[in-house]
Symmetry: C2
Subunit: 236 residues, 2 copies
């Protein structure tokens, strides 16, 4: 979510290759240079593919001195950073063409890129598997990737750009909670990152485990409040 | 939903063949013989395919005297009725084999079958595109078909088998409302049907249009109550 006062990112950590092969991997990647930039990349899709993109982006940062290829650390704007991710996606898709012929799902990944680079305001992009992207505006201040449908109704009703980052973090957590109750492919722990506008440093980054008392209390009081809300509405 | 005191069915009416070809068709079909049976069939999937199934089921009712093929009106139990629907699905899939070769989506349909036949209790089935089916139990008192993800979280939290049919009708309406706010492929009017256990007749059947004051009042007060519920939960 891109708010007036900052940005909030959330991702789950479940990866599965079938019901009997479930593992925990972070899908949140952060590049930070104090007082200059904070860039966050969230990933969804095939883990082999999305990990390769992250590795390629990191390699390009190591070799970007004198190179013509844009890297996340040499980009002068978030638009250039989004182009850099798009370019990495296309390179990796070209590289994996043989794999893709057998199974297109193997080179499938979508991304949310957000952050701020000194000299411009905070920006948020949804990058597609083809490497092209759209940018969030105040009409649509959030993006979702992956298993997004279960958690969308609460976002559509509650999300506004004038929320505090704390309220937005709660909203994203409840959106994930809705999904996790209905779908096994999404699972805790949840990674959360809060960025305050013009700070050029990560304000808060935490991992909420399922048995975290803070998370449990929020999930339970939401469940209770939701049932009360339901009872308040008149029957047909 | 199959409740202790009755059953409630809901379906939207939107059919689309692309964004620019949207039409209204009921997806709720009812067979009733007073004091003997109420059978409701909800459909999702390709309209040409699901309409053919309904036509075939009706043809088999007209010709079932002396025929060996089970029909919805000659079935002695809801299990036999589910078998009759499964059989119609398989016949139509066989018939459309040529079509299916080009595009499997064209012979795609899923069904919810529910009701009560004198001599046994009310029963609810989810019938798959292959014609096989599962039956609701008190552990899982409801089924969804079609675009089901957006509307599932509220069902998972609120649905219980001891709800009144009126409360359950409100719940199904709010579940549809969640979906309609987030996805254009589902749209009003909503068809609702209430059946009271052991009545062997439809108690209430109505169509709620988007501008129906009753529907609007419920949707708005739910939206308000949801936002209040969100504010009640402590921030992270």
């Amino acid at each position: 979510m891109r708010l007036e006062s900052g940005m909030v990112f959330a991702s789950d950590t479940r990866t599965n290759a079938g019901m009997d092969n479930v593992a925990t991997f972070s899908k949140m990647h952060v590049w930070e240079r104090l007082d200059d930039r904070v860039i966050v990349l969230l990933t969804a899709g095939n883990l082999a593919f999305t990990q390769s993109i992250i590795s390629l982006l990191n390699e390009r940062i190591r070799t970007d001195r004198g190179s013509k290829t844009l890297s996340l650390m040499s980009a002068e704007t978030m638009f250039q950073a989004a182009l850099a991710v798009g370019d990495a996606i296309r390179s990796m898709r070209d590289n994996e063409k043989g794999v893709a012929k057998g199974n297109a799902g193997l080179v499938n990944g979508t991304f949310i890129l957000g952050g701020q680079i000194r000299g411009e305001s905070q920006r948020l992009f949804h990058i597609y598997r083809e490497g092209n992207f759209i940018e969030a505006t105040s009409d649509t201040p959030y993006f979702q990737i992956g298993e997004h449908k279960y958690g969308k109704p609460i976002l559509d009703r509650v999300a506004t750009i004038d929320m505090t980052p704390g309220a937005a973090a709660k909203l994203l957590l409840l959106s994930f909670d809705s999904t996790m109750r209905s779908n096994l492919s999404v699972g805790a722990p949840i990674d959360l990152l809060l960025y305050r506008k013009d700070s050029f440093s990560v304000e808060d980054r935490r991992r909420l485990h399922e048995n975290d008392p803070r998370y449990q209390s929020i999930a339970q009081s939401w469940s209770r409040a939701l049932k009360e809300a339901f009872c308040k509405v008149d029957d047909l």
